[in-house]
Symmetry: C2
């Protein structure tokens, strides 16, 4: 019991600090300190910094996908509406005070050429999102659901970058509009 509570605290703080400062910009000491835990304990639980990052990414992917599935299944909507709802979810994310970009994108950029395991994990998360979108595009009876799913994801990923680029939250409106247009044409 205590075990899982400490564990969760470490994961939460690690996730927060990694998002704020990046992976290589965050020391294990800081994570341990802010989690109210000694380094010794942290290393008992996760083995290494890389092990901790793996755990953080896994937890993040799980909660992200759960969140998506919940929100998409919540109300009775058409597939098209569900796809457009994704952009609303992103809008909420961007409006959150602590928005600092996507942790998987951070992973891809920090570890691409030095830690393949982490890189693959981040790629896996992005792929999972695509599969989720694909489920929806298939339901729209679009002629090319795979390409449509790719295009929706392109807009979503792009919106993360531009939201980070000082473009206001309004960038998501342009993305949503584009998605609507693509859905119409498919």
């Amino acid at each position: 019991m205590k075990n899982t509570k400490k564990n969760a605290a470490i994961l939460e703080n690690a996730n927060r600090l990694f998002e704020l400062q990046g992976f290589k910009g965050t020391g294990v000491d800081q994570i341990a300190a802010e989690s109210g835990v000694t380094k010794r304990t942290l290393y008992k639980h996760f083995g290494s910094k890389e092990g901790l990052i793996r755990a953080v990414l896994e937890a993040h992917e799980t909660s992200m996908m759960e969140r998506f599935r919940q929100d998409l299944a919540a109300s009775r909507m058409t597939a098209k509406e569900r796809i457009l709802l994704c952009f609303d979810l992103y809008r909420d994310w961007f409006e959150h005070t602590n928005f600092t970009g996507c942790i998987f994108i951070k992973t891809l950029n920090e570890f691409a050429n030095c830690t393949p395991a982490l890189n693959q994990q981040a790629q896996g998360a992005k792929w999972a999102l695509r599969e989720l979108i694909l489920e929806q595009t298939k339901s729209t009876r679009a002629t090319e659901p795979e390409q449509l799913a790719d295009q929706i994801q392109l807009l979503l990923e792009g919106s993360i970058i531009l939201a980070q680029s000082g473009r206001g939250v309004t960038i998501i409106d342009a993305a949503q509009e584009a998605a609507a247009q693509l859905l119409e044409g498919a």
Copy 2:
């Protein structure tokens, strides 16, 4: 003369290593060593690591924009064709053996909450790209050139992320297709 040659060598190597390993993942020692220069010289030229990063970003933005303007002005094309050509340029970039993502996106992700100056510089580069796209969308006589430019950039930025995510280079085809469709509808 020698001065500028050393200077260029440092900038090139720093750019390459930052792209490969990230900013915080690359030490000044390595940059100096691989540039055939002592740390002393590097610090004489750029003052600090942050100064070097600033110079790298500035040089990168300059050469990127020059490259774009050259390629877009090369042949006689319609504005729509020029916009679609941007996706071909990105395809070339992705196919390059050393593609490791966008250095400005790396900057946004590594320095968002600890070095505002670098963050602003990266935002500036993304904004410059948008302005370049906007010039083209205005020429298409689209009803909403600003939103259209945003949408084109969304697709371009998204394609960088998905190209890094193990999705093949083919992702750029989906992006280009989407752009064509948006241009048609505008």
